[in-house]
């Protein structure tokens, strides 16, 4: 197996794909958005319960490839109890890691996705959930797409 494949499909990613965390709907979400990747048909919804500007709870639903599911799962775990501003900063950092900078220790566990950078066609899979959160926080009603 190539080392790029090992970097892409790390155990932690495969684990989150098999057992996604926060894979549920919220009782009283204050924000929600739908994300869609028209290239592969991946579709997910993210729901957020805000307390002031703190993300008190966050869940997601949908179907997609291992990268998009694991990314959504790990994102929800990461964003819980972050402020809206911190969440947006994390999104920027995450996107920069995938498209420009490569591994970023500041991102903690999320840095396992650095390997996606070697698979340009898969970057949208990893960022779909993040784009959706961004849209939810911005209060957008229309589904966001990765295009």
């Amino acid at each position: 197996m190539t080392s790029e494949l090992r970097d892409l499909y790390q155990q932690v990613i495969l684990d989150h794909n098999r057992k996604p965390r926060n894979f549920r709907t919220l009782a009283n979400p204050s924000r929600a958005a739908e994300g869609y990747n028209p290239l592969c048909g991946d579709r997910l919804t993210v729901e957020i319960a805000l307390e002031g500007d703190v993300i008190r709870d966050i869940g997601f639903q949908g179907s997609g490839c291992a990268i998009s599911k694991a990314s959504a799962s790990m994102m929800t775990a990461d964003l819980k109890s972050k402020t809206v501003t911190e969440a947006e900063e994390a999104f920027e950092r995450f996107r920069a890691m995938l498209t420009e900078n490569g591994p970023d220790a500041e991102l903690g566990k999320l840095s396992v996705f650095a390997g996606v950078r070697e698979f340009p066609s898969r970057i949208k899979c990893a960022t779909l959930a993040w784009h959706t959160v961004h849209a939810a926080l911005a209060g957008k009603a229309e589904p966001v797409t990765t295009e």
Partner: protein, 411 residues
């Protein structure tokens, strides 16, 4: 038929396709994505280079030598295509950009003239988006209804349901000859007969059929047939619309411009004869010549032999893939061509595609521009391996080995 008794020499064919001889991610390329676009033999590359290097000029315009050569080559390609489709007349062959444009041309001209409020256009549930959306747009514009013939769990068109759908208000039937997502060979001839008994015209989307089956538009008796050059071993940007001459004659032009006119004044324009009425502006001359070379190549191999070779590979691939635990073929029609669409239990098609790519294997993953087909089967995406003349049993075996890697990673 004697030709078909001698098997294709695939090793020799592979030498004709320079692109196949490369490594991808350090592995020999295994190209199993011909349904997306086929690779091009050297004769096609040479035809393009020769045209631009020696004969390049505009067609139907100049009195000079180069223009005469370019026109002769361009019209020669049209005659080649006429023979390829067994059309009655070369004026029935219209050059377009591809299948999509061929369908849109018919929707905008024949469709707009024929379909009115309350009328119906019939398609099937296995169509590519390009044979759905133009009809939806037409129906929306005209206040007409789009009726869809169901398919069964194998991916076969329900022909009885189709015949029941044909009614007083049906104005047009548009159907794929071969499904790009499932590989089903659609019983086009029978469907055309049924439509004609009620005086309804039929367009056949031949994008996935022309490279794999012998197409005879007179035998099919279809009213329109369209296919793409780039899936038929020719260049991108060129395709063909065949139409029966009486229908084409009666249709208004599609686009206005140069070459599609006999005379123009500010008071009145007289349109040109067929097929030029439908070829406004400078056409893709090189593309047409390249497509002519591709079809000459394909006919040189013998379409019956090509079909037999690909059928044997399809049978081999079906057997090998079916034997893999956790793998399910999507599209198991009795009559199929070229396509092996499948699901790997617990693994999304995109992950399968990425892993296969690292093994040097090119497949298509996703909805294959046939989202209603995915919906019909309750899935989001499949992995699709599709075959061409240059594929071998070893390519199928490499795919099976690649799928073992998928299992290795995903468990």
């Amino acid at each position: 038929m004697k030709q078909s008794t001698v098997a294709l020499d695939v090793e020799r064919i592979r030498k004709d396709f320079p692109i196949l001889h490369q490594e991808v991610h350090g592995r020999p390329l295994v190209y199993l994505d011909s349904a997306a676009t086929s690779q091009k033999p050297q004769v096609v590359l040479d035809a393009l280079a020769d045209y631009y290097g020696r004969d390049n000029a505009n067609v139907h315009r100049g009195v000079h030598q180069l223009s005469e050569r370019a026109t002769e080559a361009y019209e020669g390609a049209r005659t080649r295509i006429q023979r390829f489709l067994n059309a009655a007349h070369s004026r029935e062959i219209v050059f377009v950009r591809g299948t999509t444009e061929g369908i849109n041309l018919v929707a905008h001209t024949y469709g707009r003239r024929t379909v009115g409020p309350g009328d119906e256009v019939v398609i099937t549930a296995l169509e590519h988006h390009s044979n759905i959306v133009p009809w939806q747009m037409l129906c929306e514009e005209k206040g007409a209804a789009l009726r869809v013939v169901p398919i069964d769990d194998a991916g076969e068109v329900d022909v009885e349901a189709y015949e029941r759908l044909l009614g007083e208000r049906t104005r047009l039937v548009a159907v794929a000859h071969v499904s790009n997502a499932l590989g089903t060979i659609v019983p086009a001839k029978r469907m055309i007969e049924a439509a004609h008994r009620r005086g309804i015209a039929v367009l056949v989307d031949g994008a996935q059929a022309a490279p794999h089956l012998r197409v005879d538009v007179q035998d099919l008796d279809c009213d329109f047939y369209t296919f793409s050059g780039h899936k038929t071993y020719g260049p991108t940007g060129i395709g063909v619309l065949y139409g029966k001459s009486d229908l084409l004659e009666a249709m208004p032009p599609f686009q206005g411009g140069g070459d599609m006119i006999k005379s123009v004044s500010f008071e009145k324009t007289v349109y040109n004869d067929l097929p030029y009425k439908f070829e406004a502006g400078t056409p893709d001359i090189a593309g047409a010549i390249g497509l002519g070379a591709a079809l000459e190549y394909l006919e040189g191999l013998g379409l019956d032999r090509v079909a037999a070779h690909e059928h044997a590979l399809l049978v081999h691939g079906t057997e090998r893939l079916s034997s893999l635990p956790g793998l399910r073929l999507v599209g198991t029609a009795r009559e199929k061509a070229s396509i092996l669409s499948f699901l790997v239990d617990g693994v999304h098609a995109h992950d399968v595609g990425s892993i296969l790519d690292r093994e040097g294997i090119a497949v298509r993953t996703g909805h294959h521009c046939a989202m209603p087909v995915m919906t019909r089967f309750g899935i989001a995406a499949t992995t699709r391996a599709s075959l061409g003349v240059y594929n071998t049993r070893e390519d199928i075996d490499a795919l099976v080995e690649g799928l073992a890697k998928v299992r290795e990673i995903f468990g």
